[in-house]
């Protein structure tokens, strides 16, 4: 029942918000509902939860099954933390029709939670799409100047990908023993090697677009730039994890042969993507685009480590799923504060943040360190494991991917330098009194960064069962 309630709370709150007029009250409702969701997520993560299983469409044997293992739990935690953080951090931003905005955000949260909990392929697909539709409206209504075209590109891209996954689901479904969508039945489906390959390709396309893996990433930087910041935060902190989650939940256990047969191909693509994104990030002048490309590079590393198909790599990814979300969220919140208060997005227009708002500058440095994965930050743990797995897989590929660490240091520190230090620029002069709620969020996030960097054991414990399922048969 806990699993059902964590799904229904954001959903109910979203529906209530549709009918609420005053904008102030909307904020409280949204924050309260995400607070409850966070509490439930913590409860599920550390106390466990029984599966929820109900009949849905009996004639085709589709069931409404929710389950939570380590992989789900860590993403529940991330989703649980992200949404209240985003709502609090952007509570001072000016948003037209805030109630509707928050309502759509909560529908997105429902979709995301559903994706991470679904134990039935059709249900999974259902939520997968459900998470996308509200984002389409969020970006197209509240986004930047080119929002309609950019969002449409993003929408068509991901929608096409998920349609391919739908064919994959149908293909596997017709080969299950008892004609059901349950994940256990899917694992035992008898597919010939040719069918396995086809199904692998169909599922992979959907996940690769969502992550995104080079060369399917072209929708991402534009979408991040044009979306309203709160949505960008959801996209980059949580939504991209849907792709990685899909790989771990469906691709790896369902098609083990096709998976290992393609590991070379996908790892190579991912590493190309890492380097490509890092080099572009170095040349970026726009802070939001820089963070977007940096995020592509990090996700690329995660997908590379995943496809090495080694236990250590997957362990790294499981930790990094959470850490990357927290770090990128921190960077976006800082970029948003600066943009809201000064209107500056170009690094050229920035400078002197340390003089204007020392606390924010310190926080920026903290998250920048996490972004480069310095020891003592959370990202170090995951990235260390992931590079380790890449080295086991192929030292040359590990060396190529290793360049990205240097590149990450270059672009991140460059950003810190141009933004925080130097003369106070014209635009930075406009910096007003600190944005208290946002800075409070940043401090909390930074505490999470450091704690999980110094003492990551709880995260390891949380995900051990997933690892066992995947590697110890």
């Amino acid at each position: 029942m806990v699993l059902l309630s964590i799904l229904s709370i954001p959903f109910i709150a979203a529906i209530i918000l549709l009918f609420v007029k005053p904008n102030e009250k909307a904020n409280y409702i949204a924050i309260a509902s995400t607070g409850i969701t966070l509490a439930l997520a913590l409860n599920i993560a550390f106390n466990g939860a029984a599966n929820f299983d109900a009949s849905w469409i009996p004639s085709i044997n589709a069931r409404f099954v929710l389950t939570a293992d380590g992989l789900s739990k860590i993403l529940l935690l991330l989703t649980g933390i992200s949404f209240p953080a985003i709502f609090i951090a952007t509570s001072k931003n000016e948003i037209k029709n805030r109630a509707q905005f928050l309502s759509l955000m909560l529908f997105t949260q429902t979709g995301l939670l559903g994706v991470f909990l679904a134990g039935d392929a059709l249900l999974f697909y259902f939520f997968w799409e459900l998470a996308l539709i509200p984002v389409y409206f969020l970006c197209s209504i509240w986004g930047g100047e080119k929002r309609v075209a950019v969002t449409f590109k993003f929408f068509i891209y991901t929608f096409l990908g998920s349609l391919f996954m739908l064919i994959g689901i149908i293909l596997v479904y017709t080969h299950t023993a008892d004609q059901s969508f349950a994940i256990q039945a899917f694992k035992q489906a008898t597919l010939s090697s040719g069918q396995q390959l086809t199904a692998f390709a169909l599922f992979f396309t959907a996940f690769a677009i969502k992550m995104p893996i080079f060369p399917l990433h072209t929708w991402q930087p534009d979408a991040y730039e044009q979306s309203p910041t709160a949505v960008t935060m959801v996209l980059s902190a949580v939504m991209v994890k849907m792709g990685l989650y899909g790989v771990m939940r469906w691709l790896m256990p369902l098609f083990p042969d096709a998976f290992s047969a393609h590991s070379n191909f996908v790892v190579t693509l991912s590493v190309i993507g890492i380097l490509y994104a890092s080099f572009i990030a170095i040349r970026q002048d726009d802070m939001k685009r820089l963070i977007a490309y940096s995020s592509i590079a990090h996700i690329g590393l995660m997908s590379a480590a995943l496809f090495t198909n080694t236990q250590i790599g997957v362990q790294g990814v499981l930790i990094q799923l959470f850490s990357h979300g927290i770090n990128v969220l921190g960077l976006w919140v800082i970029a948003d504060i600066i943009e809201q208060q000064t209107g500056a997005r170009s690094l050229k227009e920035m400078g002197g943040l340390a003089k204007q708002n020392p606390t924010l500058a310190i926080l920026l440095v903290g998250f920048a360190f996490a972004n480069i994965a310095l020891p003592l930050t959370n990202a170090f743990v995951g990235e260390f494991l992931m590079f380790n797995s890449l080295f086991q897989f192929n030292p040359w590929i590990a060396a190529a991917a290793g360049i990205s660490v240097v590149l990450a240091a270059i672009y991140t520190l460059n950003m810190v330098q141009k933004c925080a230090y130097g003369e106070v620029s014209e635009k930075m002069n406009k910096m007003q009194s600190p944005n208290v709620p946002a800075q409070f969020v940043l401090i909390v996030l930074l505490v999470v960064v450091i704690i999980s960097g110094v003492y990551p054991a709880p995260l390891f414990n949380l995900t051990s069962d997933t690892l066992q399922q995947l590697f110890i048969k």
Binding site: S59, I60, Y125, E129, I133, V148
Partner: protein
């Protein structure tokens, strides 16, 4: 049997209603009451409680499936009249005349869901079609309407000729009009008879493609749908089309299934060209009404997947499809009727002025596009699953998916106009109750999208 007799009888009653009552609202009320009676009569037979005893000499066979389709069609017609009664009254002199025609259409429809004989099929199609020619031309003073009616009539007559020729060939080969008799066995039958049967089959196939407006036999559709009064376009594009496709599927699932070698390749060709023509042409339309005409062609492309059956997915799927498609389309046409201008620009800024109306329109469009949480998703899903299960190449499914992605483009163009473009929507004043009526359609679409089972379970009683 109940439905066939009752609908014909009610049609005659409606003809006289315009003599007796002058008030058009009364006509609508009588029609609604008649439709309710029709639903009740049909449900009585569906549940085996009472059937008017008629010896039909094996010409008809009433299956659970056929009777359930009747129920769906009658309920859809009821909802349609309930929503559009006032609009129908605005056209012509007496609304009752149109309602009479509707009942005759439904009479044809109930024959088409229970034929067991090619001649009955022919009669059903004719009873269904002739009222449509009149409905198309009912806007007497509008040249477009006249042109559309003439075009429709000529094309319809032509396809009827082809259909009769096909029946003749089949009769020549097998010596019977009955459906369930074993057809000529390809292994033992004489070559000449096999050829005749295949030729007849292909002729029938072609003429059905005319009726359901599948490419390359679709050319009449956009002009007729565009020229006819919008209320009647709504009726023709949904309920009538659904009936035709059901008859098509039932016919080719029966005896002709064994002769698949003769028509399955053709079907694949028709299916792909229908998807291609419907989707690609819809992209370039400037008028929403014409876009919907082409989109209805594209939707037929998906419905044709059911022909690859028969399996559970095909049978249930085609029912879901006609429900989801008809409800969404009737809803969309219901919105369109209230627009002063049918261009995409007319919808600009609708979301600001009429948030509820825009929200429901969005829901209908998403259902047509096949996005989860709406009935259209399960409809498309069942169709694709039917196709995969019947063992046709996966490539065909991938092709269909690519076209489904293209359809997003033109459906969402309307959503973009409503939500993201500034402007003053050109919309007629409407009563609050009209919106609530539309809300029922929206709720049905959501219901189909979340619990499709509820709507199908009746099949198995």
């Amino acid at each position: 049997m109940n439905a066939i007799i009752a609908s014909a009888f009610l049609g005659v009653i409606m003809m006289f209603a315009s003599w007796i009552f002058d008030n058009e609202q009364t006509h609508t009320r009588i029609a609604l009451a008649g439709l309710l009676a029709l639903i009740v009569a049909n449900v009585l037979q569906l549940n085996g409680i009472y059937t008017i005893p008629v010896d039909y000499k094996g010409l008809l066979s009433f299956t659970q499936f056929g009777l359930y389709v009747n129920t769906i069609l009658f309920i859809l017609t009821f909802l349609y009249v309930w929503l559009n009664g006032d609009e129908i009254a605005k056209i012509g002199n007496h609304a009752a005349d149109f309602y009479a025609l509707f009942f005759f259409v439904l009479c044809g429809a109930s024959i088409l869901t229970s034929f067991n004989n090619l001649l009955m099929l022919f009669i059903g199609i004719e009873i269904l079609s002739i009222p449509l020619y009149i409905l198309t031309g009912s806007d007497k003073k509008n040249l477009n309407s006249n042109e559309a009616a003439l075009k429709y009539f000529l094309m319809g007559a032509f396809s009827t000729g082809i259909f009769l020729l096909g029946i003749t060939f089949i009769y020549g080969a097998t010596g019977t009009f009955q459906l369930l008799n074993p057809s000529v066995n390809p292994a033992t039958g004489m070559v000449r008879e096999q050829l005749m049967q295949s030729a007849g089959l292909i002729l029938i196939f072609v003429s059905f493609n005319f009726k359901v407006s599948a490419a390359p036999f679709h050319f009449w559709t956009p002009d007729v749908y565009d020229g006819a009064p919008t209320v009647f376009t709504s009726f023709m594009a949904t309920i009538v089309k659904a009936t035709a496709i059901i008859a098509f599927v039932v016919l080719f699932h029966s005896q002709f299934k064994a002769l698949g070698y003769a028509w399955e390749l053709l079907l694949t060709f028709v299916l792909i060209s229908t998807l291609f023509v419907g989707n690609i042409t819809a992209v370039f339309q400037r008028s929403v009404k014409r876009m919907l005409a082409y989109s209805s062609i594209a939707q037929v492309g998906f419905m044709l997947f059911a022909l690859y059956g028969p399996n559970n997915f095909a049978n249930e799927g085609i029912l879901l499809y006609i429900m989801a498609y008809s409800i969404a389309s009737i809803g969309l046409f219901g919105v369109l009727i209230k627009m002063k201008d049918y261009s995409f620009e007319a919808f600009n800024g609708l979301a600001k002025k009429e948030p509820l109306l825009a929200g429901m329109t969005t829901l209908f469009l998403m259902s047509l596009a096949g996005i989860p949480l709406t009935g259209g998703f399960f409809a498309k899903y069942y169709m694709l699953n039917a196709a995969v299960q019947s063992g046709i190449g996966l490539w065909l499914v991938v092709v269909a998916i690519l076209f489904a992605a293209i359809s997003i483009y033109y459906y969402f163009k309307l959503i973009q106009a409503m939500y993201f473009s500034e402007g003053e929507p050109a919309i007629h004043e409407m009563e609050q109750s009209y919106k609530y009526k539309l809300l029922v359609f929206a709720i049905l679409i959501l219901g189909l999208g979340i619990l499709p089972n509820v709507f199908l379970s009746y099949l198995y009683f």
